[in-house]
């Protein structure tokens, strides 16, 4: 599983992507908790959304080792 970081989360994590070598979290919600623990600054953000394979994903979406997951801090285009 690959995880991509953008915007402020890229700065918090210190990299734009990482290869997830550990056990695959059960779903997005599990990943959300793991990331919050590992990078506490993420919890200070207004919100975090996730995309799996370039589509927005709900918290209960299950994860697979082949997935590309994107961590999406509050968008601010325009």
């Amino acid at each position: 599983m690959k995880i991509l970081f953008f915007g402020i989360t890229k700065e918090i994590v210190g990299r734009s992507e990482l290869e997830w070598n550990g056990e695959i979290p059960e779903n997005i919600n599990s990943l959300r908790k793991i990331l919050a623990e590992k990078y506490p600054a993420i919890s200070g953000l207004k919100s975090i959304a996730f995309a799996v394979n370039e589509r927005y994903a709900n918290d209960d979406q299950r994860l697979d080792s082949k997935d590309v997951v994107a961590v999406i801090p509050p968008v601010s285009g325009g």
Partner: protein
């Protein structure tokens, strides 16, 4: 086919030229065009903005914008739509985003153009950092 929409979506570091963009989606069958241009302000509140820096999750941003255009085409009677967003450094007074909608009817052109910029700001994975003389901020990141 009459019900197809012509559309053009771009994310790019180059400056956006409005006349060039209009050419990409114009046709002689449409009487109404509505444009939204978002330009970089030289101030946020009282802080002087030196530049913006845009970043996007490019493939997803393009597909989200295309989904919005399809929605707009279902909801409103429009003939074509263009969304062009800058990436990287954008200086004050430059165009950060341009949206063009054409339609036989001005009502649809206005409403669809408004829909596209409103939804883009809500859901398309693009991020803006404002850079000031004395610091920088990822817009909207914190509560």
């Amino acid at each position: 086919m009459e019900n197809e929409i012509r559309s053009f979506v771009a994310l790019s570091p180059e400056e956006i030229d409005l006349n060039d963009c209009r050419e990409k989606i114009r046709s002689s069958e449409n009487g109404a065009e509505c444009h939204f241009v978002g330009t970089v302000r030289n101030k946020t509140g009282i802080r002087e903005v030196i530049r913006l820096e845009f970043e996007a999750y490019e493939p997803m941003a393009v597909s989200e914008i295309n989904t919005l255009i399809e929605k707009a085409h279902k909801l409103f009677e429009i003939s074509s739509a263009l969304v062009h967003h800058r990436l990287g450094v954008v200086n004050p007074e430059e165009t950060a985003v341009l949206i063009i909608v054409t339609s036989p009817h001005r009502d649809a052109a206005f409403v669809a153009c408004r829909f596209l910029i409103d939804e883009l700001k809500k859901s398309v994975p693009i991020w803006k950092k404002e850079v000031y003389a004395d610091g920088e901020v990822w817009v909207s990141a914190h509560p």
